[in-house]
Every structure is written in C-alpha cells, then in structure tokens.
Symmetry: C2
Subunit: 306 residues, 2 copies
C-alpha cells in the first residue's frame, strides 16, 4: 500500500536510520562463538546459531530506538540453508519486537519467477490451498534491470499485504557509474530507473506522500541524492554507504524532504562492530556498544535535518 | 577459469540444453504430494520434501542425456529455509550424478557483499578457519547493474574453483527492453552489458574460446541473439525462454557459433510438466515423460545446428 508503517515508526522514534544486520562470524564476540563451536563443532549449524544469538542480542538492544533492521541475504546464504534459517528467525524476532524488517536481497527476475520471490519474502506461499509465510519481511530490495513485468508481481503483494520495495537506482559502490551514470537521451540511467520507481509506485501513495516503491541511493553520491530527492517526490530513499563506505551525515541531508522525511539511512558494520572500536569495551557489552553507536548515528544524521 | 567443464559435458552428450528445476507443488504428481502431506501435514517441511523427491526422480531420469540443471532460487525461497535446504540437496544430488549445476539466482550487490554471495553459491565459507561448502554450484546467474566491483569477487572465485557466471544481458521477458534496449551513445544497454561480459571474462578464456563469464540472452529475442553472438565471441550464452515463453529452435540457432557451441538452452516447465501434457501418461511415469520431452527438445535444437 505504501511505506507509511515505516515512516510512522521513524517519526515515533525520531530516528531515520536502519541497522544492517550483515553479520560475519568475526564480528561476534568470542564468548558466543566459543559456546557454539564447542557444542556443535566448526559447522554451518554452529555458525548459524552464533549469528542468531548475536542478532537477537542486537535487536534487544536496539528495538526501542531504531525503527528498522535490514538483514542482507548474502551474509546468511553464505552459511547455507542453516544461515537462511537464522535469517528467517531473525526476521521473526525483530518483527515480534515491533521493528520494520527490510530484507536486502536485490532480487530480480521475469514476472512468473518474481511472483515466487514476492511470495517468499513479502507475501504468502500456497501449499496445496493453505497459505504459509516463508520469510514475511516488511520490505525487500530489488533490481529493476528487467523492467516492469519483473516488478509488477511485487506491487500486487505490496498492495495486498501492506508491504514495500526499494529498487536499486544509484548504488553506493565505486563502479556504480559504469552503467548507472551513462546517458540515455540526455538522462543518466539512474534517473530513468528513478522515474520508473515513480511510475511503479503511483497507485500506492500513502498519507505522507510516499509510495510503496522506494529507491536505493548511496550516501557516497550526495549530489545525486539531492538531485533525485527533487525529481522523485513520491519515492522514499534507502541510503546505504553511511560511515564505513565514506558517506557523511551532511551529504545525506539532501536525501530528506523539508519535513525531514523521505529517507532512511543504513549503517551495518559500525553498529555491529561498535564493541571492537570503543576503548576498553568488554566483549560482553557488545550490544550496549551497538546501542551507543546507533544513538550517535541517529544524532549525527538528525542534526542536519530541519 | 572458464566454462570448459560445461562445454565438455555438452559435447559428450551432444546436447546443448539445460533443464530448469523451478518446481511448483502443482507440477508434482499427487502420489508424491499425498505421501508427504499425510506424513508431515500442510507444512513447508512437507513442501520441501515433495520438491526434493520430485527433483531427484527427474535428475535420475535426465542425467545421462542432459548436461546440466538450472535450479531457480525463487522457487525454493518460496518454501522458506526448508525450501532452501531442498535446493542445497538438489544441487548435491545432481553433482553426484555428474551434472553441471547452474544456480539461477540473479544475485547482485556491492563488492564486499558480492564476496559473500560468491562464497555462498560457488566458493567456500570460512568458519573460524575451516572452509565449508554452502551451496557449491558450478555456475551462478548474476545481474551487472552495479558494475565491475560487484562482479570482481565472482571472477576470483571462478578462477580459484573453476566455476562460471552468467550475467543478465538481454532477458526473455516482454518488458526487458524498457531499460535494456535504450540507446547509450548509439548502443543499446544490452550491448554495453555484453561488452562488459567480454571484458570481465578476458582473463579466463578456456580451450574452446569461451570465458568463465557467460551472458543470459532470451530465446524470445532471436535477432539480438544472433547479433550478440557476432559481437561477443568469448561469451557463452544461457538462453531461457525456449518453449513455454515462445522462443523457437530456429530462432535460437543464431545463439550458436559455427561449431555448434557457444550456447545452452533452458527449458523448465515443459520438461517438469511433460507428464501432464502427454496423452494418457500415468502420473507414476512423470520422470520418463520428462526424459522424452528432454530428448524431443535436444533433437529440436540440434536439428538447426551445423
């Protein structure tokens, strides 16, 4: 229907940021790792159990100050189906705590197959007449290279279950310009993709003026952020690349509208690994360190907003 | 390193086709479905068990005549982590039978995250110093919208473990042209993406002249297939859209080089559901019907090759 559920939570917590849960084993304190490696050996089962414990502790420490989490599917797939089970349980746990869950999967395919992805991540799966939830996140990142018929099945699921999608427009990585900055009839590819987002979302615009179709625009490209904010008035931005990738809060300010809405900024590693960067932080306090970094990030970003 | 392992298998079986394992529950005969629904109820566990049984029977019936399978990740994700476990076991089973496995995931992300996807699907995952296999397919489909640094981690894994990738160039769906046909400095986007495939693969060219980096080009666009075959001499094509989506064998012939190499054509539904289309085929003979359709497809495609 729209991204209003997310926007309401951002407004309530006065925090337009999302914590990326992209856990690597090396981010996890040794007391958690040792426990499961001793119990289960050096297995994918142990790795998945470690990630899930780590995630749950982070969610417990963040849910009342951070509106959303963004688990990155790759970091779970890396640990096989066991990792994906941990992803599934992470999503369920965060939702139970009231968080908005944005699965970062950048999924894309032709219509019939996209219908399966939409059911998997946002909707329900028909099992011989019984509808079951597979992952049931609130939003999913997607790649629009295949055009409208790869997006249409998602729009239907967004409308039916009040979910959202974020389409890759201008990504945060150094080589994003190889295709995305190229000009097509005087417009860069990212703007054309942005215009498609506006069109795809045009029938599902919520109370705040933003549709169910958001865009991914990297914090590392502040000029494009500002330009796209002007050109895509109904498209909310998911902004990765803050912190570790080099995007600063000042540059990000251009992603927001005059009311301080219209964007949500992601940080992953800086929050997950905050305990490693703080002076003399005992590893048992990793979750509190994550909370402190999340607060610092919130204050850093909101300082530049109206 | 290259796609030589795949090409050798195609040459040996004289069959440049791949069967897409994109199973939906309704494709599976009722004697298999009933067994697991009775045993496990209408659950994702039952669904996953059904798909795995179905896949294994198809693999048993196909492995000596079809060189490769292409499981589509979406149809497994739809059944949650249980479905992903079935995917993992399908891959292992097919490889044990000697088949080349191409996971159709269309994955894409920035470099650091693509490293995780590369480990997940083609390489190995480091678990505290121990290297474990997560999915371990032979090849993966990927989306190049993010440019070179989203592809580089895959190239390293391809080199290290003798694996391959297929990058989306011109997809088979009706709206693929919305972005892919747009002109950039006189060239369509799909050609620019194709040229990137040539560049990405240039350091890993095998004995047959094809690199580790293939391209996905839909059977539904025969003119582009022919054009791209000329322009991308080191890029092997994975050709979806034969049969159900409307691409015919005659049009597909342009995807092949003069030696009859350079492409592999996918069919999913027509093979999986062959038992439903044959007159009076008892459902217990679904795998034999799939074999008959796979042979028909092989002969249909090779009839147009030199």
């Amino acid at each position: 229907m729209s991204l209003d559920r997310l926007i309401k939570r951002i407004d309530k917590l006065k925090n337009p940021s999302v914590v990326g849960l992209d856990p690597k084993l090396e981010y996890v304190p040794s007391f958690i790792r040792d426990k499961y490696f001793t119990e289960l050996g050096h297995t994918l089962d142990a790795a998945a159990a470690i990630l899930l414990d780590f995630n749950k502790a982070l969610i417990d420490a963040l849910y009342d100050i951070v509106p959303a989490i963004k688990p990155q599917a790759a970091y779970y797939e890396m640990y096989g189906w066991q990792g994906i089970k941990a992803l599934s349980e992470t999503i369920r746990y965060a939702k139970k705590k009231g968080m908005y869950v944005m699965t970062d999967g950048k999924r894309n395919d032709i219509g019939a197959t996209m219908t399966a992805y939409a059911a998997a991540h946002l909707g329900k799966t028909d099992v011989d007449g019984i509808e079951l939830e597979a992952f049931n996140a609130d939003a999913l990142t997607v790649n629009g290279y295949l055009g409208t018929d790869g997006i249409q099945p998602l729009l239907e699921i967004c409308e039916k279950y009040d979910k959202g999608i974020f389409v890759l427009v201008k990504t945060s990585n150094p080589s994003s310009g190889e295709l995305q900055d190229k000009q097509i009839a005087g417009k860069p590819v990212y703007e054309i993709m942005g215009n498609m987002c506006e069109a795809w979302g045009s029938r599902q615009i919520g109370a705040y003026g933003y549709s169910a179709v958001g865009a991914v625009v990297g914090a590392t490209y502040p000029e494009q952020l500002k330009e796209l904010r002007q050109k895509l008035p109904h498209t909310m931005f998911l902004v990765p690349g803050y912190g570790a990738q080099g995007g600063g809060a000042k540059g990000i300010a251009g992603a927001f509208d005059k009311k301080g809405r219209g964007a949500i900024v992601n940080s992953s590693r800086a929050v997950m690994c905050a305990w490693k960067k703080e002076d003399n932080c005992p590893e048992t306090e990793f979750a509190q360190a994550a909370r402190r970094e999340a607060i610092r990030m919130r204050d850093d970003i909101t300082a530049y907003l109206h």
